[in-house]
Symmetry: C2
Subunit: 328 residues, 2 copies
């Protein structure tokens, strides 16, 4: 072999019960389990070409050549794949996404999920969903959740072997939609990897972790029983808990913007009016409204009256990471 | 005696290390200690008249007659005073304040501190500062901190006898000022008493309490050593911790407004520019900027550029609760 290639597509995901803080930073073993769904319609497509004539790895994201830490992180994942495959070729990685990067939509999750599948397939590996999820986790913790389809739970585990995500319900199980409200499209000041490393400095992180099994049980059962009210309450508290840890870390991390607060305050009121909607935020100022599909238009109309909104993306529950035919 | 009267003046106070949650709701014994200073220039003046011909207690606040729960809470404190004095006259209570009520300036603290001194003095009691502080605590927990002068620490204690506030430094010790930024002057949706009762429903309240001695030590030492940078960091984290508990209670309490977040985000940046300023918030959307006196004008100027500010009050470190001559 002198050249081998594969292309994979992956969706970002939105966590309903959040991941924040690692028990092992290098292996990205999380301190607590998490639950998410993949965001259909938003995708990252990644082509990996291994070639014996390359003398280094290279990375292009949205037609821009990436060096330094971004490339290093990709090379580290490629090293894991090369080790598994027993092959030492360098790779060209070409990735494109159709959604804003670095602003609370989990761009690194889709990127490392797609990279894991494309790179492993290109080198002749045929990994199980579990092993793909474990591999993606090494690149970005939450990437492990973008591997399986539909509603997903990341089993935290205690080692590289038992920390991976599984599908707990197919995408067709419940017609939830993520209405993503972009209030700030700029790259965030502190990325998730750096943020995770600060979690332990908050005096409340341990309590958040200790309480996680309770929240996971409530969240999982609410999904399985399609109980929106139960889901809404635990999703909002869990999001607030993660941001509570962030804003009490040392240094403090405050991701919210004025428009974030406006929406966070009004959403529970909409729910009292009978609209099945709740909010959740990743490590950024943008706000994800989890809504039943038949209420999406009403929610979008109500958002029209609020200030500070730059863009709205709508994503139904999506499929898992998959290969697509190579077009080169 | 058929008539006896006294008039007292008290300042509200701003907590630098916060009180949130009770170990005993009726006695208002706090779960953790707290540190504050009294707000000079803002005051509540309360006149109490006991008269054998009254057949009920009455309450007038800012020229408005108060009934129901407000009156009941005052009568409960008067009952404690009557019990101590062994006299059973009803009272007329007339109170006026020069600052907005119910919007994150601790109005009930000044009110119950002034009431405690005026009522006890009118019935012939000459209580020590400690016993006055204990008495005021029965009306509103943080009222115990408005009794002593200057920088104050509430020793949480475990019983009515040992839960009271002391002065840890006189007002002249350090020239700090509270620049109170009013972003919302309306009465808050959930009062502090109801909020305290929810604290235990947050999964992180216990961790916040367990960590309190550390924060109290840092805060107390920073005041005693006039170390602004150390004070600023612990004050902001402690405020965020209290709001973290609020926003993860069941139901969640979210006191912040968009303008609150704007200011919270910019203040740490001002500090990086060399301005000795930090923020803290009570149970409301308004933001208290703790500033060294020589920087007050600069901070006010910088606030001019921010949206959503309705009013700014400036309060230096104030004196304790004291009697004033009766003008009637």
């Amino acid at each position: 072999m002198s050249t081998s290639t594969a292309t994979a597509v992956s969706h970002p995901n939105i966590a309903l019960i959040k991941y924040w803080g690692n028990r092992d930073h290098e292996l990205r073993l999380p301190e607590n389990g998490s639950i998410s769904f993949n965001l259909g319609g938003l995708f990252t497509q990644t082509k990996v070409v291994f070639d014996s004539k390359f003398d280094t790895d290279s990375l292009t994201v949205n037609n821009e050549r990436i060096q330094n830490s971004g490339l290093k992180r990709v090379s580290q994942l490629l090293n894991v794949v090369r080790e598994l495959a027993g092959r030492q070729y360098f790779a060209q990685v070409i990735s494109t996404s159709n959604f804003p990067i670095g602003a609370g939509v989990a761009s690194s999750a889709a990127a490392f999920a797609a990279l894991s599948l494309a790179a492993s397939h290109a080198l002749g590996l045929s990994l199980s969903e579990k092993d793909l999820s474990r591999l993606a986790r090494r690149g970005s913790g939450s990437a492990c959740r973008s591997i399986p389809a539909g509603y997903v739970e990341w089993l935290p585990g205690r080692s590289d072997e038992d920390s991976y995500a599984i599908s707990i319900a197919p995408s067709t199980h419940w017609d939830l939609v993520d209405v993503i409200v972009i209030v700030e499209a700029n790259h965030k000041a502190v990325g998730s990897t750096a943020g995770h490393a600060l979690a332990y400095t908050s005096p409340i992180q341990k309590a958040r972790i200790a309480d996680a099994p309770r929240r996971l049980d409530i969240g999982r059962n609410a999904i399985l029983q399609r109980d929106f009210e139960a889901l809404a309450e635990i999703v909002e508290v869990d999001s607030n808990l993660m941001h509570a840890v962030m804003m009490t870390s040392n240094p403090t991390l405050m991701y919210w913007e004025p428009a974030t607060i406006s929406i966070m305050k009004v959403v529970p009121e909409w729910r009292l009016e009978g609209i099945p909607v709740c909010y959740t935020l990743d490590a950024g100022p943008n706000i994800h409204l989890i809504v039943r599909r038949d209420y999406v238009n009403l929610v979008k109309k109500k958002l029209d009256n609020l200030p500070g909104i730059q863009q709205i993306l709508v994503a139904p529950v999506g499929e898992g990471t998959h290969l697509i035919p190579d077009r080169s």
